[in-house]
């Protein structure tokens, strides 16, 4: 169970998150939608401690922390339970695909190297990249890089994975293969919070859709409800604009 309570965050006096609260059940796939600047990414970054929130409480399992004053020790401890998939993949450029996946296990988790490599191989195979294990990130396509990024997250066996617009930087052609892998992750039963503009993905995979705008959660609910009967005018407006643009890929 993840509880996010009253998270606030400003950058240079611009309020990005006004007061966001969100509960996510174990194994739930939550998709966060919303226009640019609505605070979706900032929310993910605050709860993964990449940004320091101005206030807010975050609970993961039985650990509960104040996001504004959290110790380095607590950050390390909580990060052991989470993983992050970035918009720009952020693979380690000096490491091969296999090393990228194994790095967290070896360096952070102190796992035996041989065992870590074996696990990393399995994870790469699972995302369909067995033949690329010795390739460096520059030698991989965007879609392949993002799949390595997903393998790197999954191999840690986290309680929750945050996806920050995982397909937004990809060629339209490569979006499909990446979404397929993300769907596979969803089927594993790992809790997921996904920021995306992929409406069809949200409809297919999400257990819950959260619509954010202006630093607030405007509306949340089951995807079939949000997409067909949104309560709020702002949600309706957003969805009508997006869905009319392109039903499959909106980037």
């Amino acid at each position: 169970m993840i509880e996010i309570k009253h998270v606030k965050k400003s950058f240079d006096n611009v309020e990005i998150l006004k007061d966001v609260s969100l509960n996510v059940a174990d194994g739930e796939v939550v998709v966060i939608l919303g226009p640019s600047g609505s605070g979706k990414t900032t929310l993910l970054r605050c709860v993964s401690f990449l940004e320091k929130a101005d206030s807010g409480i975050f609970s993961l399992g039985d650990v509960s922390v104040n996001l504004h004053k959290i110790s380095k020790k607590d950050i390390l401890k909580l990060r052991r339970k989470m993983a992050f998939v970035f918009q720009n993949y952020n693979l380690f450029a000096n490491k091969t695909a296999l090393e990228n996946v194994a790095e967290g296990l070896v360096t952070a988790r102190k796992m035996d190297k041989i065992q870590a490599i074996r696990k990393a191989r399995q994870a790469l195979e699972w995302v369909g990249l067995s033949d690329k294990e010795n390739f460096y990130p520059v030698q991989l396509s965007g879609g392949q890089q993002q799949r390595v990024g997903i393998a790197r997250a999954v191999v840690l066996e986290p309680e929750v994975i945050f996806f920050d617009e995982p397909t937004s930087a990809l060629d339209p052609e490569l979006v499909g293969e990446t979404l397929e892998v993300i769907k596979k992750v969803a089927k594993m039963g790992i809790t997921m919070i996904v920021v995306t503009h992929e409406m069809s993905f949200a409809q297919d995979v999400a257990d819950k859709v959260v619509f954010m705008d202006g630093g607030l959660v405007v509306e949340e609910g089951k995807p079939e409800v949000i997409f067909s009967h949104p309560k709020e005018a702002r949600t309706r407006q957003f969805l009508s604009r997006i869905i009319s643009l392109d039903p499959v890929y909106y980037i």
Partner: protein
């Protein structure tokens, strides 16, 4: 006036026997510089208040003065201050017995540290911050992220500048003669003076420097290739 080839030939091995001093000065100065340069670079990157100011004043001072002047200051001022300190503490120590090599290491490392600081800072900042965040999100500590991900990539970027600093340091060791340390250039001056064959002696060391620096550049180029091996294709 003809060249005295015989003198050139005879003096060469003599001068070459002082090459270890030159190399030792270079290595010593660089070994002393690297940890400080890394520390200073991190102080600037992390924007540590106060220390950051001190580092930038240090950089301006070193960049703004010739090495020979830095050498004179170190060589004349430091023993005086150290002796005063030792006397005040009642230590029975004669600082002037200290080998001139030590002043040379320190004097030469001053400018190497300054230029390496700049090289390290700039190269670390070229590595995308996203990779640091990714390292944190796979559970690495800040230190692990720097050691495993950031520094290895920064090293590749910094290598050309590091090569320059190494070469500059080799050349700057020729100033150590001003601190009564006899290395290659110093020995050539002595031999040239004794035989009144300066020009021949200088031609000898000309050759020594060209060869030593040539080899250094080849080796460092290899190291650079190794550092950027991940930038394939």
């Amino acid at each position: 006036m003809g060249l005295d080839y015989e003198f050139m030939w005879k003096a060469f091995p003599d001068i070459l026997s002082y090459l270890p001093v030159t190399l030792k000065l270079t290595a010593g100065a660089l070994i002393l510089s690297v940890p400080f340069a890394l520390l200073f670079a991190m102080i600037q990157i992390r924007k540590v208040p106060l220390l950051r100011k001190i580092v930038s004043i240090y950089l301006s001072l070193i960049r703004g003065t010739p090495i020979i002047l830095q050498i004179f200051v170190i060589y004349n001022l430091m023993p005086y201050l150290l002796q005063k300190y030792a006397d005040a503490r009642g230590m029975n120590l004669n600082i002037y017995d200290l080998n001139g090599m030590w002043y040379a290491y320190i004097a030469l490392s001053l400018s190497a540290t300054a230029f390496l600081t700049e090289a390290f800072r700039a190269s670390i900042e070229t590595v995308d911050k996203g990779q640091f965040e990714a390292a944190c999100m796979v559970g690495m500590s800040r230190g692990q992220a720097y050691r495993r991900i950031i520094f290895p990539q920064a090293a590749g970027v910094a290598m050309p500048v590091i090569t320059n600093v190494v070469v500059d340091t080799i050349k700057a060791t020729s100033l150590a003669f001003a601190m009564a340390v006899t290395e290659v250039t110093g020995r050539a001056k002595i031999l040239g003076g004794e035989n009144l064959r300066y020009f021949e002696a200088y031609l000898d060391i000309f050759l020594v420097y060209v060869i030593v620096i040539g080899i250094t550049e080849i080796l460092l180029k290899k190291l650079e290739k190794y550092c950027v091996r991940y930038r394939v294709a």
